[in-house]
């Protein structure tokens, strides 16, 4: 797997070793204070079609799910590693992603010679006071580490580095793999160097399957961690079956399954033993309640149980 990463993918555009060291220090610090650590992956992945990339294959994802989830994990006192696609949505600021924030600023009149002052108009930024308070508290507590990726190659390399950094935490580590990772890619050796010329006629692309990182992650890289993957489908008919198949194949703990059209109000939390439906009613939505609040509430309880079980298991094993 590691060999395939090196052979088939362009070198990452980020300093993965440095990122690994930073994640390790961050996780060790929080873990020593008794805090659990979650790695959140968020946003789509860019799959280049040319080595000097003009064109790429992408996955629909604004990063909204991951950014919102980070906020609820922070509220649940987790330390969060937020591994997200460059320019995807970010915790807290995501709430204002549909507006031009310059529209909320205005220059204050000041006497000549004084420093200029700029004020934000709270009416243009709904809920900004509690959001800013929470954001500043979170920054002060240094409980979130934010890392960016651009391409699929960056993502795969950083996920491996994260797994290695979190592995020492055992069952106190959670992997919340919400990024929309491409299933397909073009191996570096088969990629044209320059921009594909449109004058050459219609485009034929053949893409290989991306190696499933979940397999070695669960088996080898962080075998004691609590691992959640996501399954997005457009066809509700096949959703649960696909989620169950993923659990059988990768042997991790939870699949959060959702359908494209209803993903903001409805998900299924699928485990080996049960399916739990979570949804946000229209009334709850009007009160500002988000589905991620319920997802994180559900998963953190499951994580608590998972930690208890594994510690009971290892105690009884030691007792033998």
């Amino acid at each position: 797997m590691v060999e395939q990463l090196r052979r088939d993918f362009a070198p990452p555009q980020v300093d993965v070793e440095e990122a690994g060291r930073i994640m390790e220090t961050f996780s060790r610090g929080h873990s020593s204070e008794g805090r659990r650590v979650v790695l959140i992956t968020s946003g789509g992945t860019k799959v280049p079609l040319e080595s000097r990339t003009v064109r790429f294959l992408d996955n629909f994802s604004s990063g909204r799910r991951g950014a919102a989830s980070a906020e609820y994990f922070l509220r649940a006192d987790y330390a969060v590693i937020f591994l997200h696609r460059h320019r995807s949505l970010f915790p807290y600021s995501r709430r204002y992603s549909n507006q031009n924030w310059l529209d909320s600023l205005r220059l204050l009149p000041v006497p000549a010679g004084e420093e200029p002052r700029v004020e934000a108009e709270p009416n243009c930024l709904p809920g900004i006071v509690p959001v800013l308070e929470e954001y500043e508290r979170m920054k002060g507590a240094r409980r979130m580490l934010s890392l960016e990726y651009h391409t699929l190659s960056d993502y795969l390399h950083l996920l491996l580095a994260a797994a290695r950094a979190l592995s020492p935490l055992g069952s106190n580590a959670m992997f919340y793999l919400a990024a929309a990772v491409s299933d397909f890619y073009i191996p570096a050796s088969e990629m044209p160097e320059h921009k594909i010329q449109s004058s050459s006629g219609p485009l034929q692309i053949t893409m290989k399957m991306v190696p499933k990182m979940l397999s070695p992650l669960v088996k080898d890289w962080a075998p004691k961690a609590f691992v959640i993957s996501f399954k997005l489908e457009t066809d509700p008919e096949i959703l649960i079956e696909r989620a169950r198949k993923a659990l059988e194949t990768y042997r991790h703990q939870v699949v959060v399954a959702n359908v494209l059209d209803t993903r903001r109000s409805y998900v299924m939390v699928v485990t080996n033993t049960e399916d739990t439906k979570l949804f946000v009613s229209d009334k709850e939505e009007s009160l500002g309640i988000e589905i991620e609040d319920k997802i994180i509430n559900d998963l953190t309880s499951r994580h608590t149980n998972f930690i208890k079980q594994t510690s009971t298991y290892s105690q009884s094993n030691q007792g033998l």
Copy 2:
């Protein structure tokens, strides 16, 4: 062409008729005040691979070129229609796109019971005072109309609507086609409805050539307008040849040719009769001078000459 748009592409996600009416009113108003109008297209295009889209083909483009250019056209007293990809960079705010703007805000202490106040820290937003002044002046003058597109289909439909709206302005209209438009697409009839399953093995994609809008735009839709297209290559060897070929094929006025790696400091302005090299030196860059300033300066002069020539030409024609 219009027939092909209707047949081969999914219906646009935006209200194109309404957008057309708004563009027409905007252009007529400014034109009646003697102002020239430029349509700027900006950002990449999303080409869906499935009708309920999870995956799409995209083009490298942050929209920086188009957003910066809009500012310089506004300074040159043009009215600007800014047709840009959803979430691509926007004039003025583009200058702060690499930072989280929440980091620049802080809550001011106010006596209990008073309205909360939020101040922006000018030190965190370099140059914010002149930028805000210019932004507010521009908004007050209502000289920019901003329209968004998501998919390639949106883009093509909106470009047609824009051409029709600007056509009555004759040579006073400029088309500045900086968007990175896909050369390839999958016709709606050949597209799978649901998410392509990765379990079906490697992915084979065959994409058709996107119809070249430039041809009917120049010939039929806005035949008197001043039209600029862009040519981005990764291989400098073929750049000028490709630019010249485009001019011969579409018979428009200017190609701005640039190479991926050097696009921020160097472009060639290619016309039927000459190539003009524009570049920003290291010293100019350190002074904050941008290549778009030079491009717009060059093109607005050419536009002036173009208007003079066409009016001389039609006068002498009338004299016959």
